[in-house]
């Protein structure tokens, strides 16, 4: 085709094929593309006959940047991977480095990490469902769910000091303990979540329009989902009960009573129901964890892992030296490689770390859960209508920061 502007990428302009089908661009900047992804559609009328997704519009060089900073300096970068559930990334990264070093954090720290991870999981699902409902023109639901998210943001803010990007964990511990009123605030926030989710459910689950647009669209079979490396709610909606929290429990997840919801059809409606139920299960976990929360320190005792308390830094030479060395050189895990997986909002978040024994990562790889989901997006939307793309894309919950890093 004759391209009008050679600076622009190929297929930028609307193109008509020989057989009358149209090649249509959706994105990168499109109202239904929260996050930036470009989908090239070949459409026959309203039917999508072929599709291809192009990503990379939010590639920020996370992995390369992390190879040039110390291990603890990577933590703020991990916030911005899946920015809808930042605590889970923090926890996953800290666990991976701790596994590499062969250390374990105190029990209180592990409980707090569980609580924070579950708060993040709820915010992730609330955002996904709220945005999805908004794109399917149920605007009120968006307000309900974002109000619930706001309560959780305030809760996370009170503990970590940041609403969206908390950078709460450190290798071997946390930046700080929970604030004194946390239990009371958490109970209030969870009550708000339950109330708002119940309201949203009343408006959506048996809503004819919502039901018609989600049921049967974007469906995938169990075998195909496994072959495409799906994990998380998208895999569970097909009926595979795979959840890292149950399959290979990390932290103290084996001490809580919670269920893994699974679907049976693998379509958008099942994904919606799975997410809705996971919000409730996460709230259950938080309540149990708060009830069992032990007292004690939150940080690993060794000063070559975690910064010493300030009085020791100011009053003793050992404390000062430990502080200095840790700040400038960072923690030094032994040479080796580990893979640590945690269950994120979209599926398995895995950190593959390679250390050469110095203070910086030699290689840091994130296994992004929505990467395979977006790779499978063309498969999900092929054969459907253009309007179904919005529903499917919303339920895929593509998060640019983690997809493209």
């Amino acid at each position: 085709m004759d391209r009008k502007n050679p600076d622009l990428p190929k297929n930028w302009e609307l193109e008509k094929l020989e057989d009358g089908r149209l090649v249509l661009n959706m994105g990168p900047s499109h109202p239904a593309m929260h996050g930036i992804v470009r989908i090239l559609l070949t459409v026959d009328g309203e039917r999508v006959t072929d599709a291809d997704a192009e990503i990379g519009y939010l590639h920020r060089g996370f992995e390369k940047t992390c190879e040039n900073v110390t291990w603890n300096q990577c933590v703020p970068y991990t916030d911005r991977l899946n920015y809808v559930s930042p605590f889970i990334n923090n926890v996953g990264f800290a666990l991976a480095v701790e596994k590499l070093m062969g250390i374990e954090t105190p029990a209180r720290c592990q409980y707090i990490r569980v609580i924070m991870s579950e708060i993040s999981r709820i915010t992730d699902h609330l955002t996904c469902l709220g945005a999805n409902a908004m794109e399917l023109s149920a605007f009120t639901v968006y307000f309900y769910l974002i109000n619930a998210r706001e309560a959780l943001y305030r809760l996370g803010d009170s503990a970590a000091g940041g609403r969206v990007t908390p950078a709460y964990t450190r290798v071997g511990g946390l930046t700080r303990d929970l604030p004194p009123d946390f239990k009371r605030d958490a109970a209030e926030a969870l009550a708000s979540v339950r109330r708002n989710v119940a309201d949203a459910e009343k408006m959506l689950t048996r809503n004819r329009i919502f039901h018609d647009r989600l049921r049967g669209t974007g469906a995938i079979s169990k075998e195909e989902a496994l072959g495409m490396s799906f994990t998380g709610p998208a895999l569970r909606s097909t009926g595979v009960p795979l959840d890292v929290r149950k399959a290979t429990p990390y932290l103290v997840y084996d001490r809580f009573d919670f269920d893994i919801p699974v679907g049976s059809n693998g379509d958008n409606y099942d994904r919606y129901l799975v997410r809705l139920e996971e919000i409730r299960q996460s709230a259950r976990i938080i309540e149990q964890a708060l009830a069992q929360l032990p007292d004690g320190p939150v940080n690993h005792p060794a000063y070559d892992v975690i910064l010493p308390p300030k009085p020791e830094v100011y009053n003793s030479i050992e404390g000062l030296m430990a502080h200095f060395k840790l700040t400038f050189e960072g923690v030094k895990p032994p040479a080796g490689e580990v893979y640590q997986a945690v269950e994120g909002g979209n599926g398995e978040v895995g950190f593959y770390l390679v250390s050469d024994g110095s203070g910086r990562p030699w290689r840091l790889r994130l296994r992004p859960p929505c990467f395979p989901l977006t790779a499978g997006l063309p498969k999900l939307i092929k054969g459907g209508y253009i309007a179904d793309i919005v529903a499917t894309f919303g339920q895929i919950n593509m998060i640019g920061g983690e997809l493209e890093r």
């Binding site: 990503i55 990379g56 072959g227 080796g336 490689e337 398995e348 895995g350």
Partner: protein, 157 residues
């Protein structure tokens, strides 16, 4: 450290398995590049590793062979994990594709090509994934400078 899984692999592919270890409990098998696809197919068909979690590469610059392909597998049937690696020399940076076994390997391999410049023989559509047409080099290679930009638009000022 002995493990049933790694022992099985060693007995089945005595010539191809270069090394096995289980550092911090992560069972790892390093295989020859030529046997990469064969071992992966055996893992999938005989040992039940039905989920390809991750495929990536790493660059160990001064060392030869320079690159390493790293795959993480999971078996939903047995609830078991395995890491499979293969060294890839800089002179012949290519390996067999796994897309025939797991269609999900498609984008992972495209990313590995984009970031490290490792080609995959038999891949249906090996294009850049994260970077754009006209970008030269492979940014995650250790010899690519961190701040070397290749703008598509002239910047103001």
């Amino acid at each position: 450290m002995t493990s049933y899984l790694l022992e099985t692999l060693k007995t089945r592919f005595p010539a191809a398995v270069l090394e096995t270890h289980a550092f911090r409990g992560d069972e790892t098998a390093v295989v020859k590049k030529e046997a990469w696809k064969e071992v992966a197919a055996y893992l999938k068909d005989e040992l039940g590793f039905d989920l390809l979690l991750d495929l990536t590469a790493a660059d160990y610059l001064p060392r030869e062979p320079r690159f390493e392909l790293v795959c993480h597998f999971y078996s939903t049937k047995h609830n078991y994990r395995l890491r499979l690696k293969c060294p890839v020399p800089a002179g012949d940076a290519s390996a067999d594709t796994l897309t025939g076994l797991w269609p999900g390997a498609d984008w992972f391999e495209r990313e590995a090509w984009d970031m490290f410049g490792i080609t995959f023989a038999g891949h249906p559509d090996l294009r850049r994934l994260l970077m754009y047409d006209g970008f030269e080099g492979h940014p995650l290679r250790k010899d690519y400078p961190l701040k070397k930009r290749q703008p598509r638009l002239p910047h103001r000022d």
